[in-house]
Amino acid sequence: MSIIGLVTVLLIVFLAVFAPLVATHPKHASAFVDFANASSPPCRIYPFGTDVVGRDILSRIFFGFRFSLVMGVVVLALVVPPGVTLGLVAGYNQGTWLDTAIMRITDIFLAVPPLVLALAMCSVLTPNLFNAMIAVSLMWWPWYTRLVYGLASTLRNEFFVSSAEAIGASKAHIIFREILPNCISPIFTKMSLDVGWVILIGSSLSFVGLGVQPPRPGLGTMVADGARYLPDQWWISVFPALAIVVVVLGFNLLGDGLRDMFAAEEG
């Protein structure tokens, strides 16, 4: 199953990166009108049909992958370094005021549902992809802090940490050179599982109009565009929706595979 996940993810990345070359109608990715072919059902030229202004759904999905991947990658890039660092610092200093301060703040952030906060933020600020990413990032780091906190607070009692302390190594060395390398596998597993979730939330925001803005082809935006024409012109919504499913499923399968792989390595 994890191989399927890996293949799916690689395929999506390939399609996203080379979208202008792979897509049959690259111009359809932005503002483009072809009323002659509007709302065409799936056919040989338009395998997934066209939307109400005549744009090729399949081409737009390829470009939509770009926004999804950017969302996933940027959010994780923003979230993982601070989340992990805070978890390491709190875990290593377990039982001190620093631990209490970091972990209580983390708890407060964890208590807010990410989608709700993202909705609130994006409706106050300009709704666009950038603000959606910021909003999701703000809610996502505590999960990494939590994960790493648990690992670090166990690892700090290992004798190799005591040895480093007896030698007189700096706290920075102990946290980043002794403890962090032992947290890498769970962090990577969580990241690969999270990409799917972040993409899903990004698509949800796009669906309610707070993420990728038309005429750009966000997958969620496309689902929302076609929702009005259900069920008669079903292809406008259904194919982008299926694309979301495939992306999320691909990353989740890959994440499961990585977890099994790391578990086998540890055992």
């Binding site: 004798f159 040895s163 030698i167 007189g168 890498i184």
Partner: protein
């Protein structure tokens, strides 16, 4: 007259493990170490022996600085190791190093042997050529230089322990705590590690605090031996005196339970004393002498009054011999 390099004075380490009562919150403590004093002399091996749960590892961990003492003091060359809440200075950390029992846990699985051995060099000797130093450290513990590139999990238990010893030597210390350095290893490797430790001690004039539950090992290794029972020291003596002429009933029990092969060895042992019972929980320390529940020579006073350390004339000449038992009164 040799001087003490490490002095432990009335050291107590209690751990709070919970609270009793709902309104009156009385802390429940484990008295892991309950008032022990001893000195380790320059260049000697001081053997601290006890069953598991006797608090001997707590002494090691407190000395290296993993715990702060509840009461009492530890000083190194006359300088206290616990100066308020301040971090121990690097100059003292350099002098005192430790080898832990389980080399599997004391070496970071994600760091190569080279990285592991480089750390103390980075911290303590910035100017020298590190690669050369790492090779030299590996040579000291009889490992080939190409082990540098390996990771701990590629090594056997004995080899890992050798790396741990090399790491302890890397700061060029004068005092090393050996916390059961051989008890996690195969018997065939134990002798090799012990010989290595003795050779290194002579070569670098090291002082050892050797913590173990293996009393027979101490006969060959230690200059002096102390027996610990439930956080307290029962008896301290020069090794030769200790094995020939044990006073404390607990020591006799331990010595008589060492398995031996030859008749001559059997003759050296005190007469057979059957070991009874097990070490009680240090949460609920018996009143009086903590050993009285298992003691074959129990007096009435033993269950009420905790005996104090007294010095008695050793039978092997000038050897000092101290024991904590009511059988040997103040008169000695």
């Amino acid at each position: 007259m040799t001087t003490d390099i490490l002095t432990v004075a009335d050291l107590k380490k209690y751990f709070v493990i919970g609270h009793s009562g709902i309104l009156k919150r009385e802390p429940i403590t484990v008295k892991a170490v309950d008032g022990i004093s001893f000195g380790v002399r320059e260049g000697e091996t001081f053997g601290l022996v006890g069953e598991s749960g006797s608090g001997k590892s707590t002494v090691a961990y407190t000395t290296i600085g993993m715990y702060r003492p509840t009461e009492g003091s530890i000083s190194f060359r006359g300088r206290s190791l616990f100066d308020g809440n301040k971090e121990r200075p690097l100059a003292i950390k350099k002098e005192i190093q430790i080898v832990f029992q389980d080399p599997g846990s004391s070496l970071n699985p994600r760091r190569s042997i080279k990285q592991i051995l480089e750390l103390p060099l980075q911290v303590h000797r910035q100017d020298e050529n590190r690669l050369e130093q790492v090779v030299r450290l590996l040579e000291m513990v009889e490992l080939p230089p190409d082990y540098m590139q390996k990771y701990p999990q590629m090594l056997g238990g004995g080899e890992k322990q050798m790396v741990a010893i090399a790491r302890a030597l890397a700061t060029d210390p004068s005092f090393i705590i050996l916390d059961e350095p051989t008890s996690a290893l195969d018997v065939s490797i134990q002798a090799k590690i012990i010989n290595l430790l003795i050779r290194l001690q002579n070569e670098f004039h090291l002082s050892y605090l050797f913590i173990t539950h293996d009393l027979s090992l101490m006969r060959n290794v230690a200059s002096r031996v102390a027996i610990m029972y439930l956080g307290k020291i029962c008896e301290v003596a020069e090794a030769a005196e200790f094995f020939r002429n044990p006073y404390h009933p607990y020591t006799r029990m331990l010595l008589s339970s060492i398995p031996v092969i030859s008749e001559e060895e059997e003759k050296l042992k005190p007469k057979k004393i059957i070991s009874t019972g097990e070490i009680p929980s240090p949460v609920n320390v018996p009143t009086g002498c903590s050993f009285h529940l298992r003691c074959p020579a129990k007096l009435n006073v033993c269950s009420e009054v905790d005996p104090v350390m007294v010095e008695i004339e050793g039978q092997t000449g000038l050897a000092r011999h101290t024991v904590r038992c009511h059988l040997y009164g103040q008169a000695g």
